[in-house]
Every structure is written in structure tokens, then in C-alpha cells.
């Protein structure tokens, strides 16, 4: 470690003994009745990568620990290991079937403070274990709140909506934390959160107070992670790990909130889980039925979701009932009076680019327009403008995409 040469000038932290009280990275898993929410796998993937680096760098053996609350979801626990967890702490109870902030906070906080649970997968650190070193939550409508209340209970700090993480040793000089002295904080989690403007990254640190006036530890260092940012690991059934059962006990107040009912609102169209969205508009008009089929074929080739511009939802063209009820529905409308999408790739076929439509897709990564009219407003809203009639361009494009497909897959390996 080249940095050590400098550390002689730096007042070393009086925390070497404390450091061993905080071990492992706990990942709070979200799932729907045993089916993991994608961000859970993404968090595990990132946790695995971080802890592999961490253990190599610090010659330690700290674990990625998935925390699962649920009812009859042991299968999920195994899956967590396949996706990168070293161990799973599983709190099973009918009371935990659905996420409820109050009781979940109680259970997770107790798990976080329970050294015995760690003995099973990390006996060497169990005796001195007080709390996890790091903790990950999902930055979604459950995790955002859960992370907040758990940290309020554990009296530690939290950064939300993180999209980049680095663990490093940092020399910190802070008016209060270090009383103006430079102190090295080892194994610090740098939590990057994109600023509201979208221009800036703010790095948040959760640091112990090493100010002699009011020393205080703040662990775990925790964050909530934006879904869709980190890559999950591939599922690997050869991964091994232990599942530790934890039997939660509840006080009466813990169960004060009752779930009376749950109603799933499933949109027919799932734009969010596709990397690409293909939308069509009035440009299909010359032969609507055939042209919609062309769009469907292109979407199929790219595993893309299909969207439409508003006029299409008014069913302006005669098509078969099947086509009409599949595609010409309000649920597919992208724009002000419909959905807003932000796929990596957006292809607008025969869409002129009315403002109302642009609002719904302007956040997309790369935009391709297929349109015969170079003067159409969509021209100024796309990265690539393929000039031509969709009847001619789309078949050519599909053919070419198919041709290039194997080559791309090989080069990806």
C-alpha cells in the first residue's frame, strides 16, 4: 500500500479497536412473495464486487449478507446465494408476508445488532460484532422509507439514491467530525448521488464523530440504491452459502399497522423493463394492418416494448380487432396524455414528433426516427434520422439486424 508512506504525518484514528465491531455488508432484499425485485439482484451484484475488492485490499473475510423478511420464501434465500450473497439471514413469519415499515424496521434493526446470527457464517468476527459495516437498501417506495427508519433506529447515517460506490481510505478534515484535524478514515464508503439538476454528483460519507468533545460512532454506513443502475451477477447455482434462520418476536405495537387489502395494478404494457421502445404513429396509414406487423417484427427482434402516439389510440384506421385491441390502446400511448419512457433506445416509426409525444420520450438514451419527411419535427428530436418510408426501411432494418446478430453476440463474450 503506497499510501502508508504518507500516513506518518496523519494523526491516526483511535478507532482500530472499534473497527472490528462493524463487519460485513448487509443487503436488505425486496421481493414480492418470494419473487425478487430486480434491484435486489442488482444490489447483491454490486455488494459482491465491492466486498471482493474490499477483502482482497484489506486481507479480510467480510461477507455479503442478504437480509430476507418473508413468509415461506426459503427458495428466495437460496436464490440470493446464487446471485452473490455469502449468507442469508432469513426472518420468517406470516406477519412479514408483506412489507410494513414499522415491523420490518424492528426486525431488521434487531438482525443488524445480533452478533449470534453472524457466528454461523463468520465465526472469526462474531465475538466483537456490534453492527454491520455497510448496509444497502433499494431506493424505491419501500426501501427509501425502510432505510430511513432503520437508520433512525440504529442512529446512523444514510445516503439515498446512489448510483456509484467506492470504498477507500480518506483523509478527512472537518469542522466538527475531526475538530479541524486531518484524520484518516479507513474503509469509508463513498456514496455518489446524482444531484437534482442532473449535472452534479454529490459524494456523501457517513463518518464517526472523532471530535474529542463529542465522540460518537455512526455505523452502518448505508445507502439506498437506484434501481437499474448496477449489473446483477449471472445466476450461478454452484455458489454456496449459509442460510441463517432468525425467529422474530413482535411486541403488540410492532403489529399496529394492519394490511387490509392489496390490489395489483398491472399495466398491460411494461415499458420499464425493456431496453428499447418502438413507437409508431400515423405514418402507418397507408396499410395500417401490415405496417403494425412490421413494427411488431422489429420490436420482436430487439425485445422492445411497443408504444404509440396519441392519435393511434383513437383508432383512426380500420384494422383487425386483434391488432386494434393489442396495439391501439391508451395504455401504450407515450406522451403528455400517456406514459413517459426513458429506454436506452427509442425508435419512432412514422411519428412526426408533436410536442405532446416528445415530452413522453425525450429522456430516452438514443433516439432513431424513421420518417420520409425530413422536415418533420422529430428530426430535431432524434440522434439518427432514417429517411424513408417505413414500408421499405423497416424490413431492410430487420433483415440487417438479424444478419448482424450472431456477430455481435460473439464479440460480447
Amino acid at each position: 500500500m503506497s499510501e502508508q508512506s504518507q500516513s506518518t504525518q496523519i494523526q491516526n484514528a483511535p478507532s482500530a479497536s472499534e473497527d472490528c465491531s462493524y463487519r460485513h455488508l448487509y443487503v436488505v432484499i425486496e421481493h414480492d412473495d418470494g419473487k425478487p425485485v430486480p434491484v435486489s439482484l442488482e444490489m447483491l451484484g454490486e455488494a459482491r464486487r465491492q466486498m471482493d475488492i474490499f477483502n482482497a485490499k484489506y486481507s479480510s473475510n467480510e461477507k455479503v449478507v442478504a437480509v430476507v423478511l418473508g413468509n415461506n420464501v426459503r427458495n428466495l434465500c437460496e436464490e440470493m446465494i446464487y446471485y452473490g450473497a455469502d449468507a442469508v439471514i432469513y426472518a420468517a413469519s406470516p406477519e412479514l408476508q408483506y412489507s410494513r415499515n414499522l415491523v420490518d424496521t424492528k426486525v431488521i434493526s434487531k438482525i443488524a445488532r445480533n452478533a449470534d446470527l453472524t457466528r454461523n457464517f463468520s465465526p472469526e468476527y462474531a465475538d466483537s460484532f456490534k453492527k454491520p459495516r455497510y448496509m444497502f437498501f433499494a431506493a424505491d417506495s419501500i426501501g427509501r422509507h425502510l432505510s430511513s427508519t432503520v437508520m433512525a433506529e440504529l442512529e446512523s447515517g444514510l445516503a439515498s439514491d446512489i448510483n456509484k460506490l467506492v470504498i477507500s481510505d480518506l483523509d478527512i478534515r472537518h469542522e466538527h467530525k475531526t475538530k479541524g484535524q486531518t484524520i484518516r478514515y479507513e474503509k469509508t464508503l463513498e456514496m455518489y448521488r446524482p444531484d437534482f439538476s442532473g449535472f452534479l454528483w454529490t459524494t456523501i460519507l457517513c463518518l464517526d464523530n472523532r471530535n474529542p468533545v463529542a465522540p460518537k460512532e455512526f455505523h452502518p454506513q448505508s445507502c439506498s440504491i437506484i434501481p437499474g443502475v448496477f449489473e446483477p451477477l449471472g445466476r450461478d447455482t454452484s455458489r454456496k452459502g449459509s442460510i441463517v434462520d432468525y425467529t422474530p418476536e413482535f411486541g403488540e405495537h410492532d403489529l399496529a399497522v394492519k394490511v387490509l387489502g392489496r390490489q395489483v395494478i398491472k399495466s398491460v404494457v411494461d415499458f420499464e423493463s425493456h431496453k428499447a421502445v418502438i413507437s409508431f404513429g400515423r405514418g402507418i396509414k397507408e396499410s395500417p394492418e401490415e405496417n403494425i406487423k412490421l413494427v411488431a417484427e422489429l420490436a420482436d427482434e430487439l425485445d422492445a416494448a411497443v408504444g404509440i402516439s396519441l392519435p393511434i389510440s383513437k383508432k383512426p384506421y380500420p384494422v383487425s380487432e386483434a391488432t386494434s385491441s393489442t396495439y391501439m390502446i391508451p395504455d401504450r400511448v407515450i406522451g403528455t396524455s400517456g406514459r413517459k419512457v426513458a429506454p436506452m433506445l427509442y425508435i419512432a416509426v412514422g411519428i412526426s414528433g408533436a410536442v405532446q409525444h416528445i415530452v413522453g420520450m425525450k429522456e430516452s438514451g438514443f433516439v432513431i426516427a424513421i420518417n420520409p419527411d425530413e422536415e418533420a419535427p422529430i428530426r430535431g428530436e432524434c440522434d439518427m434520422f432514417i429517411k424513408g418510408r417505413m414500408e421499405e426501411v423497416v424490413p431492410l432494418l430487420v433483415q440487417e439486424l438479424k444478419k448482424q446478430r450472431p456477430a455481435m453476440q460473439v464479440s460480447n463474450r
Binding site: P38, S141, M151, A159, S197, T203, A214, F218, D383, K387
Partner: protein, 298 residues
């Protein structure tokens, strides 16, 4: 409602930069120019105020709006009063509170709520917004709830109270990004802490309720034009907070650095491709594969 205890409601709000077009101003590096941008009641705070207002129109609640901030934050209180016809406005303002992260802010707000009518024991419902738009991230609400010991109900899109049983029945919108959306109906005893989903819209569905709504709105407009009459300002000492738990000393987190996010996304200057030229189409197909393989990260 004779013999029934009145309903004490608190709303926690925040003064935020106005991000609407024409009002927001940016520095040369693209960061927010706070000096030039005027501040308003945050949009989520506004929704929380509306949710509290519902409890006034439907259940005759007594409302106190509280905020932590510099003296100018009273503007947020005034705007909130306009929305919820608040009976009292609280400003928690002290240099000691400066630099607080969410945990330390929650500590201050808890102390603030203890100063409201009836104290923490007499409080029935606390509302907060979903999140602030200028950096804080929806943590303050749940953390304040936890410190108060109130059950936290997040993402609430609709609620009603049973004043006899002293319970709240609420609908929550749980949205797990692209995975599923669920509307969950829950019941909790009062007191409770409610964070309101941005899609919350109070629903008044009889003519009489609407007429009452009109009357309270008018009262709200009158009150907020004399808001100082309803305003109480508290400093740390008056609130009896432990200085170790608020401001910088009470904050586990710090902002370590701020940097520009490297821009990957090009502006949309379209490259025109001839749809009849097979070579062009070949290039287009290659580009599509490149994007979808993740070579270009958003």
C-alpha cells in the same frame, strides 16, 4: 362531535428553490444559482399541506405547520397556510441547526412537534411530503416518525379517519420500478405519521363538503395574508433540544465532494441516414446493436 377530543394535525414543510421554468437560475457550470433562484414552498410540502387540509374540511382538525430553516423560511409557512388554513405556524430557527442531515433534522422536528398544541402525546396525525426536490430525499419524514414513535405510512394516496375508534385507514401506492404497482389498503391507530404520495388528491364528494371547502379556503387566504399573527419562532433553547443531536454534531453524514457528472449523452443532432441505401441501414443496425449491448451507458 360533542365530547369527542379534537383532532390535532401537524404538517412538516420545507422551503425549496423554485424549479419551474423562468424562475430557476443556473450558474455557468450548470449548478443551481441559489442566490438568483427564488424559494417557494416545496411542491411535495404543498401536497402534504393539502392532505392536512382534508382533515380540516372533513374532520375539523386543528393544524400546525412547522418548518426548520432560516428566518426567511416563514415564506414556506405562509404558502402552506394558504393551502391548509393552518391555525398555527412554527418556525424552528437556530444557528445550531445549520448543516443538519436528515437524522439531525428529524431530531429538531421531533422537538418542534413537542411544542405544538397538546405536545407529542396530544398529536394525532403528522403529514410530510414525499421528498424535497433540492437534495433531501424523503428520509426526514420517516426518521421523524421513528423518533416520535409513530407508525410511518408512506406513499399515501388517500385516507380517511374514524374519529370514534381513533384510527386511520389509508391507501398507499407501492411502485417497485417497473416490477409492479400495488395499491395497499392499511389501517393504523392514531397517532400516525403520513407521508403523502405526489399523486395524492383530496377528494371532497358532496356539495356540502365542497361548500365547506370553499369557506375554509377563503379563511386560509385571509389567514395567510396576516400569517405573522399565527407565526411562532423557536430557537434551540426554547425547544429544549440536545445540541449533540442536532445540526452538525447530530449528523452522521457529510457532503464530501461535489463534482460534475461526466456527460455521456450527446445532444440530439440528428445524423440523417438514407433509408434506401443498404450500406446506411447496415450502419444503423450496427448502432442499434451497440446501444443495446450496453456499450453506450446512459
Amino acid at each position: 362531535m360533542i365530547g369527542m377530543r379534537s383532532l390535532n394535525v401537524a404538517v412538516i414543510v420545507k422551503l425549496e428553490p423554485d424549479f419551474s421554468e423562468g424562475n430557476v437560475s443556473y450558474n455557468a457550470d450548470g449548478t443551481l444559482n441559489r442566490a438568483e433562484t427564488k424559494s417557494i414552498l416545496g411542491p411535495h410540502s404543498a401536497i402534504a399541506s393539502l392532505a392536512a387540509f382534508y382533515s380540516k374540511v372533513r374532520y375539523g382538525a386543528r393544524i400546525t405547520v412547522g418548518t426548520m430553516g432560516p428566518p426567511i423560511a416563514d415564506a414556506a409557512l405562509q404558502q402552506a397556510q394558504m393551502l391548509c388554513d393552518a391555525d398555527e405556524l412554527h418556525l424552528y430557527s437556530d444557528r445550531l441547526f445549520a448543516g443538519a442531515d436528515t437524522l439531525a433534522t428529524a431530531e429538531t422536528l421531533k422537538a418542534g412537534i413537542s411544542k405544538m398544541q397538546g405536545g407529542i402525546e396530544g398529536m394525532d396525525l403528522v403529514f410530510s411530503g414525499h421528498r424535497a426536490s433540492d437534495g433531501e430525499t424523503g428520509q426526514t419524514g420517516p426518521q421523524t416518525a421513528w423518533k416520535l414513535g409513530f407508525p410511518f405510512l408512506g406513499n399515501v394516496i388517500d385516507y380517511n379517519l374514524d374519529l370514534e375508534r381513533r384510527t386511520i385507514r389509508a391507501k398507499r401506492l407501492i411502485s417497485l420500478q417497473g416490477f409492479y404497482d400495488i395499491v395497499e389498503e392499511i389501517e393504523a391507530p392514531l397517532p400516525a405519521f403520513v407521508s403523502v404520495d405526489p399523486s395524492y388528491q383530496p377528494n371532497f364528494n358532496t356539495v356540502s363538503q365542497r361548500l365547506a371547502l370553499g369557506r375554509y379556503r377563503k379563511e386560509a387566504a385571509e389567514r395567510s395574508s396576516n400569517y405573522k399573527q399565527y407565526l411562532k419562532v423557536f430557537n434551540a433553547q426554547q425547544m429544549g433540544v440536545d445540541p449533540k443531536l442536532v445540526g452538525l454534531p447530530g449528523s452522521p453524514t457529510i457532503v464530501y465532494k461535489v463534482e460534475k457528472i461526466p456527460k455521456a449523452k450527446a445532444s440530439r443532432k440528428s445524423e440523417v441516414i438514407d433509408g434506401a441505401n443498404p450500406e446506411h441501414i447496415r450502419l444503423a443496425a450496427a448502432k442499434i446493436h451497440e446501444i443495446l449491448s450496453g456499450a453506450v451507458v446512459k
